[in-house]
Symmetry: C2
DNA sequence: CGGTATCCAGTAGGATACTG
DNA sequence: CAGTATCCTACTGGATACCG
């Protein structure tokens, strides 16, 4: 059986509190670029250059730092092949994939409702 | 049957592209404070002061601007009672609740995995 | 109580150039 | 190709004070 969020918070008031680990993870995953990079990778393993094109609008700097953060979090795996020219591939780890299985329904909702929401704003 | 994200993106390549409505909504909802305010409200209708305490760490300025954004998005409803002293209550709209039904499973995952992720980082 | 207004600091993040 | 390095700006967001 699944535990509701209200239950979670009641049982553990420290959760989502200022400075707690959940905030850190939230900042990484929900930041401007985190989700977008993870989403791109949920389409499958990709090389740096492809990833950069798929996450439209991201700068090299932000792609690099986002990937480093997500890799340190254990959500993304980096594989470098000792070739010339260099080839580096990024993919979701098992944990990253697990996370994305929760993120994707949310993204589908956003995709379905975004036009409505944005057009209502004035 | 539900449509996969990959299908969504294949059928509509403009989705999640730079500057498109999905990005706007994502920025509002996934921003540093957006989710946290929505989460607090998913515990039920709350007055400004209570909300401020529940979203620990938020400043008055950010609470005000976050609530305005979410209200303009139609995700949060504001009700002011003509009393002295003033009383204002915030709650999720139907659409906001719908959104949160997708966000909550994600938050449960984050709550369950945050310690693991953060402790692995070094 | 429920906000605004103002000021200010830190940093997220963009542009460009360069390298192994 | 896959990044670093450097510089610089803009906005996020905090602190404080004040108002209806």
């Amino acid at each position: 059986m699944s535990v509701s969020l209200a239950d979670l918070r009641t049982e553990n008031p420290g959760i989502f509190a200022d400075g707690c680990p959940t905030r850190t993870v939230l900042d990484h995953v929900m930041g401007k670029w985190g989700v977008l990079v993870l989403m791109a990778l949920s389409d499958g393993t990709q090389r740096w250059g492809v990833l950069r094109r798929n996450v439209s609008g991201i700068s090299e700097k932000m792609l690099a730092s986002t990937l480093k953060t997500l890799e340190a979090d254990g959500l993304v795996a980096r594989t470098a092949y000792p070739e010339v020219p260099p080839r580096v591939e990024y993919s979701l780890t098992e944990q990253g994939g697990d996370l994305m299985s929760r993120v994707i329904p949310l993204m589908e909702w956003v995709a379905a409702n975004a036009d409505d929401i944005v057009s209502r704003r004035r």
